[in-house]
């Protein structure tokens, strides 16, 4: 029971980073759209958004990769110890 | 689209400072206390640069009125993070006080030091409060402000012209400084219109602009025989 609540909390915290990253992506795309609408140097905005958005997604991806990798192993250990 | 520009004839200018006073009254610019002014927080949209050359008793004094130059290629608008300062189609560089977050990046980027900042909530002596100009909004603490070429006058002038279904005639729109100048040293008009006085004066051999080498293309043109 206790392990389960911890796990849920961990999943929530991981989804928090995804919310953060998606929010940043939405923010930058919003700024990009504004700059296109106002014809205010959209080139600069496009350049920045192309670099920034993938960087954030890769960072969140690495964190998720580690999280999943560690937990898979933990489940295996628990299973084998029960058997 | 017209392109508004100002010509200041320094040979006519007596350096009286009437333009500064007219500007201050027209645009509801806050009156800063003497102590504040001494530490460099005085607020002028139309400033007067005073330089002294030579030594006593042979001193040459130069007085040059300096508004915002409304550059055609403004360095200030490029750095603004929130669209609070921008150049519109008629070449006016606008400052939107209600959007400004007060980062003062535009002040730093301006090579002409044309902008001023509201360090405190703007204040006026009681006698001034009753003669604030209702056409110009009051600024609040923590925003940047600058000469607008009296853009509020342009709105009215345009509306009058539209009502009468005609074009704006040369000299109809003039900022307060130009209107008040006792020697008529300040001309204002559409520099794209080849008929306008401003265009003709800008072609004069006496004309020069401040720091043309920066490529900012200021739209305030000085006329002077000196230099």
């Amino acid at each position: 029971m206790h392990a389960k609540t911890t796990y849920i909390a961990q999943v929530l915290s991981i989804s928090l980073i995804w919310i953060f990253v998606i929010a940043i992506a939405i923010w930058i795309i919003n700024l990009l759209l504004i700059s296109i609408e106002l014809k205010d140097v959209p080139g600069a905005s496009i350049g920045i958004s192309i670099i920034v958005i993938p960087v954030f997604f890769v960072l969140a991806g690495i964190l998720t990769y580690v999280f999943i990798g560690l937990h898979k192993e933990e489940k295996k250990i628990i299973k084998s110890s029960q058997e | 689209m017209p392109k508004w520009a100002m010509v200041i004839d320094l040979d006519k200018c007596t350096g009286c400072g009437d333009c500064m006073a007219a500007c201050k009254l027209e645009n509801n610019i806050a009156i800063v206390s003497p102590e504040e002014a001494n530490v460099g927080r005085v607020m002028f949209w139309m400033d007067m640069i005073t330089t002294y050359e030579g030594e006593y008793p042979n001193i040459k004094v130069k007085r040059i009125p300096k508004p915002c130059f409304h550059c055609d290629n403004p360095p200030c608008t490029r750095v603004c993070p929130v669209y609070a300062t921008y150049k519109n189609d008629e070449g006016l560089v606008g400052q939107i006080y209600h959007r400004c977050i007060g980062c003062r990046y535009c002040m730093v980027a301006c090579p002409y030091t044309a902008k001023v900042f509201n360090w405190y909530e703007p204040k006026w002596p009681d006698e001034f409060k009753s003669c604030l100009n209702p056409d110009v909004s009051l600024r609040m603490v923590g925003v940047v402000e600058k000469c607008s070429f009296c853009a509020h006058r342009l709105i009215k002038v345009k509306e009058n012209a539209d009502m009468e279904e005609r074009e704006i005639y040369d000299g109809e729109y003039s900022p307060a400084c130009g209107e008040s100048c006792p020697t008529n040293a300040i001309y204002f008009g559409d520099i794209d219109n080849k008929e306008s006085q401003v265009y003709k004066l800008s072609q004069s051999s006496r004309s020069y602009r401040e720091m043309e080498n920066l490529g900012t293309e200021p739209k305030v043109i000085y006329l002077s025989k000196r230099e």
């Binding site: - | 519109n88 606008g94 939107i96 056409d135 909004s137 607008s148 853009a151 009502m163």
Partner: protein, 173 residues
């Protein structure tokens, strides 16, 4: 003490939520009752007397502000003798006799840093009053809330639709 807080914590949160929702609902949904000094009937004046907007709001076509009618405009038709048997007219006559202005409440207003001109919209732009003010000719009650909120979003929406300038300096000063 701790248990008590724990026990009632959920209840407290829920009740706080319910109260705030109620307050919000009350503040937004509730119609303010008549806040004008006289229950002026627009419909009556427009239909039976055949007045048009600019008869009373006299500067709507020629000046930036349309103006709320001065009492002298009412006096042009109304005098000491009541025309109808409405009790509201008696109130008006009282103002006329005492030579006082009617304290109308302004409903439509823009902030200090916005320049809004009626003549720009009505005479030059040829907009109908109802575009912003709604169907005034069917109003039997006086106006107590704006039919259309003069917020920047609303202004920009219309300027976008009609392809009018969105230059900041054309409205802000």
């Amino acid at each position: 003490m701790r248990d008590l807080i724990k026990k009632y914590f959920k209840l407290l949160i829920i009740s706080l939520f319910v109260i705030s929702v109620l307050i919000f609902w009350a503040a937004s949904g509730a119609n303010p009752t008549n806040i004008q000094p006289i229950a002026y009937n627009h419909k009556l004046h427009i239909e039976s007397v055949e007045l048009i907007c600019s008869d009373c709001h006299i500067y709507v076509e020629s000046m930036p502000s349309a103006t709320i009618p001065n009492i002298s405009i009412c006096e042009e038709c109304h005098s000491d003798d009541p025309i109808t048997d409405s009790p509201e007219e008696l109130k008006l006559i009282k103002y006329i006799v005492e030579e006082e202005q009617i304290p109308w409440q302004q409903i439509y207003s823009v902030p200090d840093h916005v320049y809004f001109s009626h003549r720009r919209h009505v005479s030059i732009g040829e907009l109908d009053c109802s575009e912003c003010h709604g169907h005034v000719e069917e109003m039997t009650e006086p106006i107590s809330y704006p039919a259309w909120l003069p917020s920047m979003d609303n202004c920009i929406a219309c300027h976008n639709e009609l392809k009018i300038t969105k230059d900041c300096l054309s409205c802000h000063m």
